[in-house]
């Protein structure tokens, strides 16, 4: 699969070779349990410490504010449950209609347990209306949870403004930054965010590791209860190789954020060319308030899966909807929440780039895509008019 053109980096990313190099010794020689007393365990403990510092540095946080988890979903679940457990008298949650299932399905579950959930709507560019947030906040609001950037459109929410308002009502503020971390600079030291979720496999670390930022002095209850790992905030023997990998991935992400990559230019080139040379195409999501790596494009009158499969024939990997909903037959809940017309809803494709994406790869996509779209439109009953 070396020569696959992988434009599905919002689903998952390849492990950076340096990251693999950093973690390998912890899959071989240094297999000790960090909780063990012997030297063998101790060595591993200091590797975890370094990784914690690396992740903290990427977020502008303190190492003690980082809790390692197994994935983004765990971080999201842990944050919301902790916020509720810490404030048992508050029974209201505010989130948005376009969150990841890790938040949305959890919230639906909590509704069945007697919590009230407000799902903020978005406009047709995927943006929040802050006055709707203002109107929803009450003293009963335990937590406001919004994503930093949307996984399907890349649209970025005005996180600090939301946080400011949440604080005014005494609500905890959680941000699902799984898609934002490594793509936009973050500085927890000057933020209103109380808890922030990230996931390793979105930033060139392997699957199976993530982290939750928990601001110092935030009342917290662990989701996984057991041993005293992670200072009592997440029990279970530490995924040492994963943690070391996440640390290295965070360090590399910080480097690339500072010194730049060609992601944005390549994305813009891909997007502009498609919108120009292929008729009946539209950009989904706000054109500017957006991640630099994501482009979600609607191809009218044809269906997304057919496009994906045709791209797949050329070794091009992209997606329609998020990976975890593409198994279902429904169109993306995110594009639906944006109120896009049906002709766009069913034929939208997400291209998501990474720092490993090359000019040649984008060129190849632009060569084959127009033919694919033409062929499918020729098959479509809606195109003859």
């Amino acid at each position: 699969m070396k020569d696959c053109i992988y434009l599905d980096n919002n689903a998952t990313t390849q492990v950076d070779e340096e990251v693999l190099g950093a973690m390998l010794p912890y899959l071989t020689l240094y297999y000790g349990n960090p909780s063990s007393m012997h030297t063998f365990g101790g060595q591993v403990g200091s590797a975890i410490k370094t990784a914690r510092e690396q992740v903290a540095a990427l977020l502008g946080a303190e190492p003690s504010e980082i809790v390692f988890t197994s994935c983004g979903t765990e971080g999201d679940n842990a944050a919301i449950r902790a916020a509720l457990a810490a404030q048992p008298n508050k029974r209201h949650i505010i989130t948005t209609e376009v969150e990841h299932p890790a938040i949305l399905n959890l919230c639906k579950n909590l509704e069945r347990q007697g919590y009230t959930v407000t799902y903020l709507s978005v406009n047709n560019q995927g943006q929040l209306d802050l006055s709707e947030l203002e109107a929803s906040l009450t003293g009963n609001t335990a937590v406001v949870s919004i994503m930093y950037a949307n996984n399907e459109t890349g649209v970025i929410f005005p996180v600090e403004q939301v946080g400011q308002m949440a604080k005014e009502y005494g609500a905890l503020f959680h941000v699902d930054a799984v898609q934002a971390v490594g793509k936009v600079p973050l500085n927890m030291a000057e933020s209103t965010i109380d808890m922030l979720t990230l996931s390793g496999h979105k930033i060139h670390a392997p699957k199976g590791i993530g982290a939750l930022y928990v601001r110092r002095n935030t009342r917290f209850r662990p989701l996984l209860i057991g041993g005293h790992q992670e200072r009592g905030r997440r029990a279970g023997t530490e995924n040492v190789p994963g943690i070391v990998a996440l640390g290295k991935a965070a360090e590399l992400a910080a480097y690339h954020l500072q010194y730049g990559t060609s992601e944005r230019e390549l994305r813009d080139y891909l997007e502009q060319t498609i919108l120009t040379i292929i008729p009946d195409t539209v950009l989904n999501g706000h054109p500017v308030q957006r991640l630099p790596n994501t482009s979600n494009i609607g191809f009218k009158f044809i269906e997304g899966e057919a496009i994906l499969l045709s791209l797949n024939q050329y070794g091009i990997c992209a997606s329609s909807g998020s990976a975890c909903t593409s198994g279902s037959l429904e169109p993306s809940h995110i594009l639906r929440a944006m109120g896009l017309p049906y002709s766009v809803l069913h034929g939208s494709i997400r291209f998501s780039l990474s720092r490993f994406t090359t000019q040649e790869q984008i060129q190849k996509v632009l060569e084959v895509l127009p033919g694919i779209i033409d062929r499918l439109r020729a098959l479509s009953p809606f195109n003859s008019d």
Partner: protein, 158 residues
């Protein structure tokens, strides 16, 4: 990921009989059946050329808006139809369409249902029979885009 057979892929990448039918000779009829809509995310327009004397289908063409298996199923349907009488065609089940393709993933069986319904629509159109809209369907929607219910699919498959 959908597990498509090679034959599904072949019929998706190189579909047979796509397009419309416009020309006919004396003693022939052209009829069209449509199901689905752009709102559903799936739609199929099926065109048939019928020999009026023998009731044999001489040609079948399709236009499909839908996923890969919808396109492959439509194309497979047209292959199966040519040479059959209308009555033979009406007894064709979606299961036979799927079998012709070497099988469809369970989640995609409904894509073949669409072909069967379009066929029914085309023949009923030709015979002037009003269409049953299956408005009595009950059960959970399993394909919201197409509005096929569990109960309906079971009925069609079995």
């Amino acid at each position: 990921m959908w597990e498509y057979t090679d034959k599904v892929m072949e019929f998706f990448y190189n579909p047979r009989n796509q397009g419309t039918i416009t020309e006919k000779q004396e003693g022939q009829a052209i009829t069209t059946g449509e199901v689905g809509s752009i709102a559903c995310g799936d739609a199929l327009r099926l065109h048939l050329k019928i020999d009026e004397a023998t009731q044999i289908i001489l040609d079948a063409r399709f236009q499909t808006f839908g996923c890969a298996s919808a396109i492959a199923s439509s194309s497979a349907l047209t292959e199966l139809l040519v040479g059959k009488t209308l009555d033979e065609a009406l007894s064709l089940t979606n299961r036979e369409i799927a079998e012709f393709l070497g099988g469809l993933p369970e989640e995609k069986m409904h894509c073949s249902v669409m072909g069967q319904e379009a066929l029914e629509a085309a023949i009923f159109n030709y015979r002037g029979i009003p269409l049953d809209h299956h408005e009595d369907d009950e059960g959970a929607l399993i394909c919201k885009c197409f509005g096929v219910t569990d109960a309906r699919i079971r009925r069609v498959i079995i």
